[in-house]
């Protein structure tokens, strides 16, 4: 991370901002999925392998989230970008655990920041309540653009914070090989637990559960053959 050029840091910041916006505000094109956000971040820092490995493990955590209604959930997009910045350039077996830990902390912070932006949106609407009640289209437009700006700022700040933390961790935290590998295994085991939890919860006890088990059977076969 410390050796990343300012151009790469800037591109990560732009990518993190876009990814943060994509989660809820616009355009919800799924670039905020950790698998996509992480792989592109890996490409930006010149280590696609790290991007894929970190993106997939955070994606497993994201599979435990069903973003329905007004449910509160972590923001994994900018978090994955920062996690990849931390893990890039090191063997994934040693860096995945620490990168995932940073990603999860940032994702929780991101979820909290999303609630804050939503409260600010509500306040902005209250301030323009009279204009809305009078049917002023311009008030609606201003509210919409203001909210999009707030969310973009949120994504950018979150990514910047992540990159600063990644830089600090890379410079100051030194783990011995055994601890780094153990941390990676804990990250993988926890991510798989999240994915299994999400899959079982979504499947319920009906026909869908049978399809889940059939898929698991096919997956085991593929894993053995691959």
């Amino acid at each position: 991370m410390s050796e990343l050029s300012s151009q790469v840091v800037l591109s990560l910041l732009v990518w993190g901002t876009l990814v943060g916006l994509d989660l809820v505000s616009v355009p919800q094109a799924m670039i905020s999925r950790p698998l996509v956000a992480g792989t592109v971040a890996g490409w930006l820092v010149g280590d696609v392998e790290a991007g894929l490995r970190i993106g997939v493990v955070v994606e497993l955590f994201a599979l435990d989230v069903l973003p329905v209604g007004a449910v509160r959930y972590p923001d994994y997009g900018p978090a994955t970008v920062a996690a990849v910045a931390l893990g890039a350039g090191s063997p994934w077996e040693l860096s995945l655990g620490l990168s995932t830990a940073l990603g999860l902390v940032l994702a929780v912070l991101g979820g909290w920041s999303l609630q804050t932006v939503r409260r600010w949106n509500a306040r902005a609407i209250q301030r323009r309540a009279a204009a809305l009640a009078a049917g002023e289209s311009s008030a609606i437009r201003r509210l919409q653009y203001g909210a999009l700006l707030r969310d973009a700022a949120r994504g950018m700040i979150l990514t910047l914070l992540g990159l600063v933390l990644a830089s600090g961790i890379k410079e100051r935290v030194l783990l011995d090989r055994q601890t780094a590998v153990a941390l990676t295994l804990v990250a993988i085991g926890s991510a798989l637990a999240a994915a299994v939890n999400g899959a079982v919860r979504s499947s319920g006890r009906k026909a869908r559960l049978k399809w889940l088990l059939a898929g698991a059977g096919a997956g085991v076969l593929l894993a053995v053959l691959a």
């Binding site: 698998l35 435990d64 939503r118 926890s190 979504s202 059939a214």
Partner: protein, 244 residues
């Protein structure tokens, strides 16, 4: 650019002003603006009332919001009583939320993500990710277009139009596909990560997996898998620090 196309594009930002009071309301008002423009010249008073109604409380899955947007815009042009339009909007919240969430968040997204994960592990790399993005956004774009068109064509009869459309059948089919894809992805991804570490490390990770599933179920909703993971990592670091 036609009003309908502008409305369709604005629907991609329908959650832009999401908040706990009006939820999608202001975003719907923003998307409705191009559709209601012609009403301003015909009946300015009605237009003002329609703008107010368009930005009131509303919530549903963003990908199906076009159905409600189109139906209510048409009802405004048909000069139906305002209270009837508000009732229609309110009545559409739950079904459009439930159907859209089932179709997209519990169906299409996990199905495509599961397939992309398997593709990545099997070496498809960028192709798997590009395929996921293209397929998801293609389906979503088409659904958005169909939703707005169907809403505008059916107006107050939008409920019947939804019932007789492809939507209920697609929801029935995509659920099993999602379960199968995620079911297949989990063992494939597990092997991809754990093979380089050998058997004993695999057993250790499996132990974390079992503990994670059990503890997050027992202590739900407080103990989420993210909290479990962070707690387990801190626990591990403490153990290593004291020399275990």
């Amino acid at each position: 650019m036609t009003g309908r196309l502008r409305a369709l594009l604005r629907l991609f930002a329908v959650q832009g002003t999401w908040n706990y009071e009006r939820m999608l309301g202001v975003g719907m008002g923003y998307a409705a603006e191009p559709l209601l423009e012609d009403l301003k010249a015909v009946d300015p008073v009605r237009h003002g009332e329609a703008v107010v109604r368009s930005a009131e409380f509303f919530n549903c899955n963003p990908n199906l919001a076009g159905l409600a947007l189109g139906a209510t815009a048409r009802a405004e042009y048909e000069a139906l009583p305002g209270a009837q339009i508000v009732r229609l909007r309110t009545a559409l919240c739950s079904p459009l939320g439930a159907m859209g969430d089932e179709l997209f968040w519990a169906g299409l997204v996990p199905a495509l993500i599961g397939a992309a994960l398997v593709g990545v592990v099997l070496g498809a790399g960028w192709w798997a990710i590009a395929g996921f993005l293209l397929l998801y956004n293609g389906i979503r774009l088409w659904t958005g277009y169909w939703s707005l068109r169907t809403g505008m064509e059916s107006g107050m009869r939008v409920g019947a139009a939804i019932g007789s459309s492809w939507l209920p059948r697609a929801i029935e089919r995509v659920g099993p596909a999602a379960a199968f894809a995620i079911g297949a992805a989990i063992p494939v991804v597990s092997a991809w990560y754990l093979k380089p570490f050998g058997f004993s490390a695999g057993v250790g990770a499996a132990g974390v997996l079992m503990a994670g599933i059990a503890l997050t179920r027992w202590f739900s909703p407080f103990l989420t898998t993210v909290r479990f993971a962070l707690a387990a990592m801190i626990f591990l670091l403490v153990l290593r620090r004291v020399g275990v």
